[in-house]
Assembly symmetry: C2
Homo-oligomer: 213 residues x 2
Amino acid sequence: MSDTLKLYHAANSPNSRRVRIFLAEKGLKPTLISVDLGAGEQHSEAYKAINPGRVVPALVLEDGTAIGEVPAIMRYLDEAFPETPLLGATPKDKGLVVMWERFAELEGFAPVMEGVRNKAERLKGRAIAGPHGYEQIPGLVDRSMLRVKNFLTDLNERLEQVPFVAGERFSAADITALVTIDFAKALDISIPAEHRALMRWKDVVSARPSTNA
Amino acid sequence: MSDTLKLYHAANSPNSRRVRIFLAEKGLKPTLISVDLGAGEQHSEAYKAINPGRVVPALVLEDGTAIGEVPAIMRYLDEAFPETPLLGATPKDKGLVVMWERFAELEGFAPVMEGVRNKAERLKGRAIAGPHGYEQIPGLVDRSMLRVKNFLTDLNERLEQVPFVAGERFSAADITALVTIDFAKALDISIPAEHRALMRWKDVVSARPSTNA
């Protein structure tokens, strides 16, 4: 079934990695198509016809429908392939996984991305991904780093109470949190040694074979 | 059923309005409990025990579980009360509604919020909502306004092709887009007259009784 799906992605794209891990956890194997971000292939007419947002990843269904944005791709996959749900199994759990996956994304992943995009020389004029160019704002780099550190503190507190980010079970929230922590190395941020619950969680989650995706 | 739910909200909070419209569209009537944001009630120990994120809205279920974050609340409600789905009916539509609701939120709603929070005198030191204080960055105000204007242009192009934001049917994406446009008045931004498709859509959507919620 899933081999009729096509995933446009990039090996080094953290957002692509979120989807690749999600797919691996569900045992799905869509056709992978690389987009060369360094060469600007995401701005090509061919790719814009697939995803006008000009970002990876994008999932293309058998009927040609393209779904961009990581949480949208995850939602489609968890509905179309409901075995091994990663977004929760009951209405309550579904709500809570959205809440915690979003916490990892908006408080963690997005600040790392903001720091990187406002800092890197090669991203001048491209401080926000997508069809519109925006200049970098240097003041955002320090603020982003502070936000990521606060995220790690908050996440550690959470993991002192529950084994996984969304509660008792591994979910998409763990995927986004793990990718965020690995991505934070780009800002020279790693988990402080005193965040023991977070360290323990990271060891457990990183041992899953899916995380090599 | 839904009268065993409690929604913590604020009358003037655009995020609360997104949920109130969603509830009205589904015919759900939880108990509404006002949080006085002007008086800082969101930072009280009582409210932090409900939502450590210190923001409204938050939905509290019969068993005491609190769900914060608008898309998480919407997800819970659409699963627990599946009549009149507002997040799509098929796996494909569910993915597309997440994609377009997120477009409205991240490209429209979030920039309006960023502009307001980095501009308003009363929000000094509170440029990002939540448990951590962040200083305002004045350069973000102009950039936010530019982003909102680009969002209106992109949304107009979208609505030249389809009647509703996510496609053929009214969905949560229309709710977030409408609340964004009304909220943009806080930055003195309104729909440019040449965006005729967007104007037509706004008239149609604003006529729904739910939008008075």
